[in-house]
């Protein structure tokens, strides 16, 4: 049988039976019993709905119903049922009888629907006329003459009688005609026309409806409903019968297919059994041939591998794998003698079991079984074959092991190396008796090949080692170092290529002569004597010496001489190795140049300048000759760099360095610090400052002029200028860095004085700066040394002392009393104001506490000035409260007043307000100091929780003479009054001022008129004086 023909026939059978089965199946399930039941329900419901429709129509006709919703609903239900009916297959089929029944029924239903629509329209018109007709008659009667009135009433009655079904319609119709024909007055004509039209409509539509009702309810549809049901049931029975036939057929087919399936199954089983028997027989015959073929293949693979391989590490696993993969062995391993343990240890294996721990085998005999076989093979260098593990005489545990792993037979083959036993190859086959003569021959050959390969490996590796030694020696000889070998008499035997390169002597020229040909004469005899002494003693010498090349050039070299001795210790040869170190020496010089010179201009750099400056300062200290440092900076160099590029900038720098060098003497130094900054150091000037400065100025002006000359930069002309700062020096009194800084500072002064200018560093400026720094240092010490004091000035209200303001004083040990305006800015700058402020606060509170214990001073309050830096501290409020608490002042009225300046408050007004409010709750008063000098705006004044504002003394001073100040003061007073604030005037010195203030409503004053600021010791006197003064005034008023 050809497979192709077979499958196409098969496909056609499958296809045909599938089509047949599907055909049977589809026909068998034509009738769905549930569908059938539903159809019967639909038919029944249709019949019921049809009757309902009739009932609705009749009820509407006789006005038992007054809307058409029920009728419409029944009609819609019926249509839904009809649609549902059509889902039944029987209604979709080509069955003539059922189609006809459906068609007839649907046509009848359609006719009925049309009639119903007519009925609804006409019924509505009739109802309309019936409801309106009596109205029109009534109206007509009202207008009609008496004769007509009765006629109309009769007409009304007759028409309604007709409607009620009493008949006599024809008579009424003729009566209407008569009335229509009659003529009426105009006002009556229209209403008569309407009445008669309605009457006509009533008659007409009564008749019409009477005709419609029987048509609708004729029962035609009912008969057809029933007909439809009957026809459907008949069709259903018929279809059911046919379907049953198909079902039976389907059943038979299924039975037939099933029996065929069973038959096929058994036939198939028998066939396969016979075929498998044939296959096995054939396979056994082929197996033996295959085994030998494979073994040959394994052998050939191994031989090929041996050629490729260098050592046994990869060979042994390969042999094992070949024996298993190609040789048909179930397992193979190679064991090597481990001399330390006296065991043969597996080094490679392939096949199961993988772990061969149990095969550690003693090589010195004394063990039986499997070990014995291996040992025998190893020691006696012969093949040991076990043909059948199950029956041959071997140790029981070995037999058990072999059989457990499914080994039928096995063989051990010795492998020798360099003629000595080296390893064993042990192989196992699954079948017994697998090792026939051919097989043993092949495996023996395999182990011999391996032995041969091992010997080859050894020979090859020995050869390679010697070769490599020679290569190393040769390479070592031909290094970059010159090597010369002499005999014990220093006669040259051999030189290398580097020797020729370094000395210029070829090998031919050198051999036979002594190294003395290289002597430069730069070393004396002592040197050579020492050399030889060392060499003879230590057999070794190493050192630097100068030799001469063949071309006469002397060069430094680093030489190592080693004496070679024979076994008796006598020198047989000398080996000298040397390298030319002139390049390295040159490199050292170069490094020095790079480290101390600017690479662009080759001028000394900052490092070298520093070195020379130190030397110059040291020598000037000895000689008392002045030196000068000129700091030169090019003007607008950056612009040139940016516009013309760095290459051009570099050209300019090089040109300038040349001109600078031309401007100075040989002993002077020109250095470049980097960028466009150059330094010229002049040495050995006059001992007189003035003369030295004059020389420096001359040279500086020379430089300015030199740089002022135009430059030719890549063909275009460039005009440059420079600024020079000069600083003189003498000795080491001033540090090198300060000196450079002085020159730098002077240069900047020059620069800011305009370009092309020269400036000397000014010692006076420096002195000021230094003094300031000294003052800061002293101020730092002032507080701990107790040099700070508080002075108190009385404040009066209505000439009565109400308090005092505390002022800070610094009693400097050398400079005497220093006023706050001199040192407070310094304290602000350095932050010292914070500890000082804290101290003032503390002192003031202590003082207040003291006052509060005395009835005479109890009422006094004390004002202190708060600096911005102090106030801005985040914990300022906490600090103040802490001090209040510590000094134990009255918590409700501590009497403390803080004076703040406008600028302080305005700097961060929200923060200020917050802090002030907090402190005000602790009874602290706030006074705005120096009022009027700043922004003085009402808007912020309103927001601040102030108690008082202080008019600045600058306004008070001229109040009597300057009308502007008077206006300002009056304005301030008025403003304060409006805000409910107290006003205090500062610096009240004269009676006129006081009068003016009093007149304008300012009664709180402070000033020399009342008291000066005094130390606390004199404060009581001050109070007393004030009282005296007041008493004097009171008794002697002006």
């Amino acid at each position: 049988m050809k497979p192709g023909r077979f499958s196409s026939r098969q496909a056609s059978i499958v296809f045909a039976s599938t089509v047949f089965l599907v055909f049977l199946f589809l026909n068998a399930r034509v009738i769905d019993p549930f569908q059938h039941q539903r159809t019967l329900e639909d038919l029944d419901e249709i019949s019921t709905l049809d009757s309902q429709i009739d009932e609705q129509v009749v009820k509407l006709r006789y006005r038992l119903l007054n809307n058409y919703d029920g009728l419409v609903a029944a009609e819609n239900d019926l249509k839904l049922r009809r649609d549902d009916l059509k889902k039944n297959k029987l209604f979709q089929q080509e069955d003539q009888r059922i189609r006809q029944a459906v068609r007839q029924w649907e046509q009848a239903m359609a006719r009925k629907e049309v009639l119903i629509e007519q009925f609804k329209s006409h019924n509505a018109i009739l109802n309309n006329s019936l409801s309106y007709f009596p109205r029109t008659i009534e109206e007509a009667v009202r207008l009609a003459p008496s004769g007509l009135k009765e006629d109309l009433q009769t007409l009304l009655r007759d028409v309604l009688m007709v409607h009620a079904g009493a008949g006599g319609g024809d008579a009424v119709a003729s009566e209407i005609k008569r009335l229509e024909a009659a003529s009426y007055p105009p006002e009556l004509r229209r209403i008569m026309e309407h009445a008669l039209q309605h009457a006509t409509y009533i008659l007409e539509y009564e008749k019409e409806l009477d005709g419609l009702i029987p048509k609708i309810t004729s029962g035609e549809t009912h008969l057809l409903d029933e007909n439809l049901t009957t026809t459907y049931e008949q069709s259903f029975d018929h279809a059911l019968k046919i379907a049953n036939y198909y079902r039976f057929l389907l059943f038979l087919s299924a039975l037939w297919l099933l029996s065929y399936a069973i038959y096929s199954f058994f036939r198939l089983k028998e066939n396969s059994r016979r075929l498998y028997a044939d296959i096995i027989e054939r396979m056994i015959l082929e197996a033996r041939n295959e085994r030998l073929t494979k073994l040959y293949k394994a052998l050939s693979e191994i031989n090929q591998a041996i050629v490729r391989m260098d050592d046994e590490t990869s060979l042994f696993p390969l042999v094992c794998r070949m024996a298993v993969d190609f040789g048909g062995m179930k397992m193979a391993w190679i064991g090597r003698l481990n001399e330390d343990k006296g065991l043969i240890e597996p080094v490679a294996n392939c096949g199961e079991p993988r772990h061969l721990d149990c095969l550690l085998i003693s090589s010195n005999g004394g063990m039986a079984g499997e070990c014995e076989r291996t040992n025998a093979a190893f020691r006696e260098n012969r093949n040991v074959i076990t043909h059948r593990f199950e029956s041959d005489e071997i140790e029981a545990s070995r037999r058990e092991w072999a059989l457990r792993h499914g080994f039928g037979s096995g063989g051990v083959f010795p492998i020798s190396r360099a003629g000595k036993p080296f390893a064993v190859l042990s192989v196992y086959h699954a079948y017994p008796d697998a090792f026939d003569d051919e097989m043993i021959g092949l495996l023996s050959e395999m182990s011999r090949d391996i032995s041969f390969a091992l010997d080859n490996f050894d020979r090859e590796s020995e050869r390679k080692r010697i070769e490599q030694d020679l290569r190393i020696a040769a390479t070592a000889f031909e290094t970059q170092e010159g090597i010369v070998i002499t005999d014990q008499n220093s006669r040259i035997l051999r030189v290398n290529r580097a020797f020729t390169n370094l000395t210029g002597y070829s090998a031919a020229e050198a051999i036979g002569r002594t190294p003395a040909i290289l002597k430069s004469g730069r070393q004396d005899d002592v040197f050579y004597r020492n050399l030889w002494e060392t060499l003879i003693r230590d057999k070794y010498w190493q050192g630097e010496l100068w030799n001469r090349r063949k071309n006469g050039e002397a060069y430094p070299e680093w030489l190592t001489i080693t004496a070679v001795t024979n076994e008796e210790g006598q020198v047989t040869h000398y080996v000298g190795a040397f390298s030319d170190i002139s390049i390295r020496k040159a490199a050292d010089d170069k490094i020095h140049q790079l480290a101390f010179h600017d690479p662009l201009t080759n001028l000394p750099n900052r490092s070298l300048l520093r070195e020379r400056l130190l030397q110059a300062m040291a020598s000037s200290a000895r000689s008392q000759h002045r030196g000068a440092l000129l700091f030169i900076d090019l003007d607008n160099f950056k612009t040139l760099n940016d516009t013309r590029g760095h290459d051009v900038g570099d050209l300019l720098l090089i040109e300038i360095s040349k001109r600078l060098q031309n401007c100075v003497r040989d002993i002077d130094t020109v250095a470049r610090l980097g960028g466009d900054e150059f330094i010229v150091m002049l040495e050995d000037l006059s001992e007189e400052d003035q003369q030295a400065a004059a020389v420096a100025r001359d040279i500086g002006e020379k430089i300015l002029a030199a740089i002022n000359r135009p430059f030719d930069l890549q063909g275009s002309e460039y005009h440059g200028s420079s600024s020079i700062g000069i600083s003189l020096f003498c000795g080491e009194g001033i540090g090198m860095y300060d000196l450079l800084k002085h020159a730098d500072t002077a240069m900047y002064q020059a620069k800011s004085a305009g370009h092309n200018v020269l400036r000397f560093f000014d010692p006076d400026t420096q002195a000021q700066l230094e003094m300031r720094a000294a003052l800061v240092d002293d101020l730092r010490q002032a507080l701990p040394l107790g040099q700070l004091e508080l002075y108190y000035q009385i404040q009066v209200d209505d000439q009565r002392a109400v308090g005092a303001e505390a002022f800070l004083r610094w009693r400097h040990p050398e400079r005497g009393m220093i006023l706050p305006m001199e040192f407070i800015p310094l304290a602000e700058e350095t932050g010292l104001i914070v500890p000082i402020g804290a101290w003032i606060l503390h002192m003031a509170c202590e003082q207040l506490k003291t006052w509060q214990t005395d009835p005479q001073t109890r009422h006094l309050h004390l004002a202190i000035n708060i600096s911005a830096r102090q106030f801005r501290q985040p914990d300022f409020v906490a600090q103040v409260l802490e001090v209040l608490k510590k000094t134990g002042l009255d918590p409700l009225d501590p009497g403390l007043e803080l004076e703040l300046t406008e600028s302080l408050v305005l700097h961060d007004i929200d923060d200020s307000i917050k802090k002030m409010q907090l402190l005000r709750t602790a009874g602290i008063h706030f006074s705005l100091d120096d009022f009027g000098t700043g922004q003085s705006s009402l808007s912020y004044l309103k927001r601040l929780p102030l108690n008082q504002i202080k008019i600045d003394q600058s306004f008070v001073r001229d109040v009597a003479t300057d009308p502007n100040d008077a206006v300002i003061i009056r304005t301030i007073i008025g403003m304060a009054e409006n805000l409910g604030l107290n006003v205090m005037a500062e610096g009240v010195e004269t009676e006129q001022q006081r009068d003016f203030l009093e007149r304008n409503g300012c009664h709180t004053h402070q000033g020399y008129l009342f008291a000066r600021p005094v130390p606390i010791e004199e404060f009581r006197d001050s109070l007393a004086q004030l009282q005296d003064w007041r008493r004097g005034r009171d008794s002697n008023p002006r």
Partner: protein, 347 residues
């Protein structure tokens, strides 16, 4: 190799036979599988109380029992511009739910600004109409959807175009797939829109409250209007839960509505355009009067701007009477009580 030929030759055949037997078993099992029980036939969409004393019946207060997924999808489609050829017109363009379900225009404008030939009827309570369109040419809301979509002066599109546009919108693909196994089809679009429209019910009008027994719900004047409405015979046609919408009637029973000097349009023909039966000339579906105060202008030609005017016209042509102005005012007052609520809010 010789032994390659010995592979069992009968294997495919017996597999085939066993498969055949399994197939048969499956077919029999399927035939009598219990899940194939029939579903209950769908109940009619609505049923109306017919035995009320009054010819007008209130709309049910509880919302109709509808598939909310379809309602939501229908609402999206109702507002979908892609239903029109140039993506400018949605159902909601002419049936604006916040304008009484109409567009307050004489004739509506379709794509490219084309003017229609008939006044757009309200979409509210349209589920209660026994037919759709002024001439009743669609038996159901589903059939109605076909009309505007295919009408060249309305949406001017066709189902193939609409479906291909909707298929490009992934949100529709997902929504349809969740509801309809066959995805986006004309039938499913119709079904979703019609289901949404059935949810557009406006119950709880003041007159409905009155009908339910709350005699304070309408004023004496409005009540007088209702009495006139019944007395003049308006009620003959405008009855039932939708106050009309369940029969056809001729426009101009007593006096002809269409004047000699005015050319008749196809819309003016009414049912005649469908049946070509002379008896149906000028016969229209009687419109329901719910929310009538919101749906001006009136009549199929949108020719009447106010309720007063249309009541007067109805009196003249349908009842044959010139209604007195006071009566008209009372009837109009009554008609204004018919405005209901949608989704709990007054329309």
């Amino acid at each position: 190799m010789e032994h390659m030929d010995i592979s069992p030759p009968t294997s495919p055949l017996w597999i085939k036979v066993v498969l055949g037997a399994m197939l048969l078993t499956c077919l029999y099992a399927w035939e009598f599988w219990p899940s194939k029980l029939p579903s209950v036939p769908p109940s009619p969409h609505y049923s109306v109380l017919t035995n009320s004393r009054e010819p007008i019946t209130p709309l049910p207060l509880e919302p109709p029992d509808l598939d909310q997924g379809k309602v939501a999808l229908g609402k999206k489609l109702f507002n979908e511009l892609k239903l029109s050829h140039d993506n400018t017109i949605a159902c909601a363009s002419c049936h604006q739910l916040d304008h009484g379900g109409v567009d307050a225009k004489k004739y509506s404008r379709g794509i490219y600004g084309q003017l229609g030939n008939i006044n757009a009827p309200t979409v509210y309570n349209s589920g209660y109409n026994f037919r759709q369109f002024w001439n009743g040419r669609a038996a159901t809301l589903e059939q109605q959807v076909d009309g505007p979509v295919n009408n060249p002066v309305e949406m001017g599109s066709n189902w193939t175009e609409v479906i291909s546009k909707l298929q490009k919108d992934p949100s529709y693909a997902i929504k349809f797939a969740n509801i309809y196994p066959d995805g986006i089809t004309a039938e499913n679009i119709r079904d979703a829109i019609a289901t949404f429209e059935r949810s557009l019910i406006t119950p709880n009008s003041r007159f409905d409250k009155f009908l339910r027994g709350d005699t304070k719900a309408i004023t004496p004047k409005e009540f007088a209007g209702y009495q006139l409405f019944k007395g003049y015979g308006c009620i003959s046609c405008h009855q039932g839960s939708n106050i009309g919408g369940n029969l056809y009637e001729k426009l101009g029973i007593m006096r002809p509505y269409f004047k000699e000097n005015r050319p008749l349009t196809e819309a003016d023909m009414g049912r005649y355009a469908i049946t070509r039966n002379l008896e149906d000339m000028h016969v229209f579906k009687v419109p329901g009067l719910r929310n009538i105060a919101l749906t001006a202008p009136y009549l199929h030609d949108g020719s009447v701007p106010t309720l007063e005017q249309v009541v007067r016209i109805m009196g003249e042509h349908q009842l044959g009477v010139d209604l007195p102005t006071e009566d008209i005012s009372e009837i109009v007052a009554f008609l204004k009580t018919l405005t209901g609520e949608y989704g709990g809010n007054p329309l």
